[in-house]
């Protein structure tokens, strides 16, 4: 189950994570809908680009720009939050949306929790795979923590001062 477009729905994408000893160039990519690590995409690109559908995920220390040439090829791009306090994923989302103009599904994976997904949504994520022990319906509540924000962001093209008549 994941959260997408503010609802909880079934999802059959599998996130491939390399186990110890597995190498990006030799790991076997199985299944129809797989979200592969960036390193696997870069190492096996020739084979993988023949797939009808493919997802890729970035670790928090990887760069959105690594996907610049290929951005149109992915049905989903995911960004991993190894710990919720690792905030690099928010800037990765910014780059994907603003610099690379990516308009497809952007999914937060890893330690995705109720109290962070409001900011994640603002930064450009539109899909959330909560940590395995968390209930999606509970996590979903986090998306409505605020009805209003000051800054422009991916979910809101204009900052408050350009959007409303202030002072009322």
């Amino acid at each position: 189950m994941i959260i997408k477009n503010k609802t909880v729905l079934n999802d059959d994408w599998q996130v491939l994570r390399l186990s110890e000893g597995e190498l990006p160039e030799s790991v076997l990519v199985q299944g129809a809908r797989v979200i592969v690590p960036l390193k696997v995409w870069l190492a096996q690109r020739e084979v993988l680009q023949a797939r009808a559908e493919l997802g890729v995920w970035l670790a928090s220390d990887e760069r959105a720009e690594s996907l610049a040439e290929d951005i149109a090829k992915f049905a989903v791009i995911a960004v991993d939050f190894p710990k919720f306090a690792d905030g690099r994923g928010y800037s990765i989302a910014h780059h994907l949306r603003v610099r690379l103009n990516y308009r497809g599904e952007l999914r937060a994976i890893g330690e995705v929790l109720r109290d962070q997904i409001f900011y994640m949504q603002r930064a450009g994520f539109d899909a959330f795979a909560p940590r395995a022990d968390k209930d999606c319906a509970e996590v979903l509540k986090g998306l409505s923590d605020f009805s209003l924000s000051y800054q422009a962001s991916s979910d809101e093209a204009l900052p408050l001062f350009r959007r409303v008549t202030r002072g009322l």
Binding site: F84, A85, Y90, D145, F146, S149, A152, L160, G167
Partner: protein
């Protein structure tokens, strides 16, 4: 001052609801302490030695009388009748209970206040010049820009989980009173040759474990681009700042590692994507916010001669506490929170209420909190100074020590803070008692003595003329002494004079440093200037030349650590109990 509109109110109301639910989940154990810790910190809530502590934001140090009364209310209702004003112009309450925290935020929201982002690895409360809007040397009033930055940084979705905390300071005056060189970003409002307003941007300054003076990142960012440019600086930091080592995670380490030229290149490369975009500040928004900071309704007055006062006590207070004002007939007045025997920066609920009343009577109902941990009434008629002085004296806020030895900056230290290695407040008390003679202090003249109970430097010891740092040696508290630090335009970092001292030796150590100054000073030379001229050697010789006796009187219970049980409703390991 800035007043909330319905949008500000709504955002803050939603924040209170959010935090109330987070506290509920924590108390039910639905949220672990690890997950909750970061959430509470971003609402200003710490777990200290005895109880929860809340740091309430005072944006750029400006409060109304109604807000000051709210502090008094919080002190009475939720705390033990007092609060502590901090070096970041905020106020902290030390004795809180977790279930009360949402109610405190709700109470604060009624007077347009909050505790947003006063801790945590996010953009902290923005500090500024305590004399903004009234200083004679001001070129541009920084407050509208500070408020625009406050709104931009509030709940900024991309920057809530930075590698480490991030502090902005902004000034618009010739003399920097906002310590911009020791902030992650320091902004100096300037005008270019065409008379347009922009900002000189310093980056990578800071105190703490690795003190660094900030370096210039850009000499002129036009005001319209303040937010997008700042955003690019913070973004580069968010992406590349170190996350593997807490002590190397501040932006200063990144700037040093990359070099300022490469850091600047990265910032500007990022900025190209957002420059002139929606985040660009509009003239309409600047005008809207600036309208809150127009001068109050001053009367047309002439200056009163303040040099010919025949009451010596009043004259002494005027000399230290009364600051020049750009409006004829007016003065800015510093109310001292540094009375001997009181923890520096502490005020009781009664003092807060009384200060609110003084502000209403003498200064258009507004006060400022200074980074030196005092209060300012910024718009007092000179002809009312005597009446104000008489009232302030009765409240214990008219000690004529502003800028002198006993006007110390002091962190809460070992009495309250889980990070501290040593006591700060009892040391400040011992030193104040030792040197409180006003004639002596006036003779010594301008002197900044700053005390931090640990390396995190909340007491700004690196920029004190005399800096005192509490250190831990085999579980015992010792104090390291530095000389030659300074804040302001000629900011510098102090240098350690040598091995550290016991608590009981400290008054004698300070006395010896002062003896060197008195012996070596040129006519009219300030303490810091003598240190800069003659170097550290004469001070070292004097201090270490003969054994330093411990002052046995300082072993009395008066100077002991606060000994109180913990008041936690959650299981928690406290370092002392």
């Amino acid at each position: 001052m800035y007043r909330y509109d319905s949008f500000d109110h709504k955002i803050q109301a939603e924040r209170v609801v959010q935090f109330r639910d987070q506290v509920r989940r924590r108390l039910n154990d639905e949220l672990s302490e690890d997950a909750f810790r970061i959430l509470r910190l971003q609402n200003g809530l710490y777990m200290q030695i005895h109880a929860y502590m809340m740091r309430i934001a005072v944006p750029y140090g400006l409060v109304s009388s109604a807000q000051m009364r709210m502090f008094a209310h919080i002190a009475r209702k939720y705390d033990r009748g007092y609060g502590h004003f901090t070096t970041r112009q905020n106020i902290q309450f030390n004795w809180l209970k977790l279930p009360d925290a949402p109610d405190i935020l709700a109470d604060l929201a009624t007077v347009e206040m909050h505790a947003n982002q006063t801790s945590g690895n996010c953009i902290r409360n923005i500090t500024s010049d305590e004399f903004a809007g009234v200083a004679q040397d001001e070129i541009i009033d920084p407050r509208p820009y500070a408020e625009i930055l406050r709104q931009w940084s509030t709940f900024h979705p991309e920057f809530a989980y930075l590698p480490r905390k991030f502090k902005f300071a902004i000034t618009g005056a010739v003399n920097d009173r906002a310590a911009i060189a020791v902030h992650d970003i320091g902004l100096q409002a300037v005008k270019n040759a065409a008379g347009e307003v922009g900002f000189r941007v310093l980056v990578g300054g800071g105190l703490g474990r690795t003190p660094v003076i900030g370096v210039e990142l850009c000499d002129f960012v036009p005001w319209q681009h303040l937010l997008t440019y700042s955003e690019s600086v913070v973004r580069v930091y968010n992406e590349y700042g170190r996350r593997d080592n807490l002590y190397k995670a501040r932006i200063k380490i990144l700037v040093k590692a990359l070099g300022i030229a490469e850091f600047k290149r990265q910032v500007e490369a990022d900025w190209q994507f957002t420059k002139n975009g929606a985040g660009t500040i509009t003239q309409a928004e600047l005008d809207r916010v600036s309208a809150f900071f127009v001068a109050p309704n001053y009367q047309a007055l002439s200056n009163v001669d303040l040099n010919t006062i025949d009451n010596p006590a009043f004259a002494g207070w005027v000399k230290r506490s009364v600051k020049a004002h750009k409006q004829a007939g007016y003065a800015a007045v510093v109310l001292s929170l540094k009375k001997t025997g009181i923890a520096p920066g502490d005020a009781t609920a009664e003092q807060m209420d009384a200060a609110a009343e003084l502000a209403e009577q003498f200064s258009f109902g507004e006060l400022r909190i200074t980074h030196m941990q005092n209060l300012v009434l910024a718009d007092v008629q000179q002809s009312e100074l005597f009446a104000l002085w008489e009232r302030a004296k009765k409240l214990g806020m008219a000690t004529a020590n502003i800028g002198l030895l006993t006007d110390m900056i002091c962190c809460p230290g070992g009495d309250f803070c889980t990070l501290a290695n040593a006591r700060s407040i009892p040391l400040a008390k011992a030193l104040a008692e030792c040197f409180e003679d006003m004639d002596f202090q006036h003779d010594i003249g301008e002197l900044e003595m700053n005390i931090s109970g640990c390396i995190n430097a909340c007491g700004h010891h690196h920029v004190g003329h005399i800096g005192i740092l509490g250190v831990d040696k085999d579980g015992e508290e010792w104090y390291q002494v530095q000389l030659g630090g300074a804040q302001g335009n000629d900011a510098s970092l102090g240098k350690v004079i040598g091995r550290s001292f016991s608590f009981e030796q400290m008054p004698e150590v300070i006395a010896r440093l002062l003896q060197v100054y008195v012996r070596e000073r040129d006519d009219g030379e300030r303490f810091i200037d003598t240190v800069r001229r003659i170097g550290l050697e004469p001070y070292k010789t004097e201090v270490y030349g003969t054994p330093i006796a411990a002052d046995e009187a300082l072993k009395a219970p008066d100077y002991e650590l606060l000994k109180v049980g913990v008041a936690y409703d959650m299981p928690y390991y406290s370092p002392r109990f």
